[in-house]
Amino acid sequence: MQKGFTLIEIIIYLAIITTILIASLNFAWTIINDQTKQENLSEVNNAGRFILDKITYNTKRSNAIEAGSIYDANPGKLILSYIANPQMIIDTYDKQITLGGTDLTITKLRLTRGANLAVDLTGDKINVSNFVITDSSNASAVTINIELTLSAINPSETKSYEAQNSWTTSITVRKRQ
């Protein structure tokens, strides 16, 4: 009366199960690693979009870009003036943070409106590694170009968590009549 498996069946069974387990563990591990990287990338991309849209909106509707703005150097500084609103400054500053027992200095972007306190444009998970403004104005138009590079802070410098992105765009101050 045949019952259960023969030895050979069990061996084949185990071999198949092992192969599947190894494959799925490997896959799961990749996913977990990748998720951290993707979270960092998401953070970087969302911050980039937010900063560029904020600067674009405020520059388009400004009246002029004031002297004191810093061009062609990192970090840049943008001073915008308005007809009916107080002037606006977009620049960077350094902040000390502690992450997992490690002290770090990160560069953040901030926006200052008139006499108000500065408002951060980036969170503590993002380092602004490049913020350069160049001037491409002509006789009748005020146009600036912005280069922005953001990286997710990665104190352990784990290669697989690295997330960095950079963008270049331009903005022309809108004509008014």
Partner: protein
Amino acid sequence: MNIQQKNQQGQNLIEIIIAIGLFLIVAAGSMMILVRYLDTFTATAELTQVKYIAQQGFEAVQSISYNSWLSLADGTSGINNSSGEWQLQAEPNLIKEKYTRSIIIAPVQRDGNCDLIESGGTPDPDTKMITVNVNWNSAKGAKTKFFSKLYARWYDPTTCSAAGEAGSLEIDVSNARIDATQKSLIGVMLHNNGTVPITIDKMTLTWTKPGEITYIKINTTNYWHATNGIGTPQGAQPSGTELDIVNFGLDAGQSYDVDAFRFNEKVDSSTFTITATMNDGSSVTEVTTPPFVP
């Protein structure tokens, strides 16, 4: 033998292989979903890049258009700022060694009413359709995005958007009043606020009291008169009739008195609308509140 087969317990190899096969199908399905999910991150990052690459194209064209609208020649091109300001160039741009950006400048047609139409109109020299096309190779193959905007030379129009002669004419009714006979509307001023001479071709008046208009005297001269052959039509005219006056020219920056709009009945406490139609067909309408009786 038969009894033995009926009492068989557990699975045989073929059943296990089928079970594993089923499991693999389910597992592969969920893995594909995960991979697709992760792909969307990459796609989002690429689209964000494309957005700002396209924005740079639009803003550079905006900059060029403010400086020299006429340099927006129809065709496909790229941009560069090697001279310190944005300029068009023939070749498309390659950005980050991945994204190819070309800018397409196309004419825009308008019909006789200045409405935008697809075809059959005349190209408007004051309006251009700017399309930015970005091509790149993603992990999923070649991708392309088109973005379009209409750019208009609204600040210095030459055709449809131009206000015409009427844009320079101001009919000033702030001192309009009825004279002592109560049959004349006086005190209306005409200003040419523009920089070139303009000409009034026709005038139309409406009023809310009985009676007919008999003459219009501007700057001490009759430009329309019901009975002595100046302007058409002849004869006293009712409210709302378009009067083809002798063309009245206004020099740039000058003001002129309308001495009287004369009626054959008392028009005190009436509300007047005065429409001036210019030589180019544009027109201005002004409404007076009932002028006081002296």
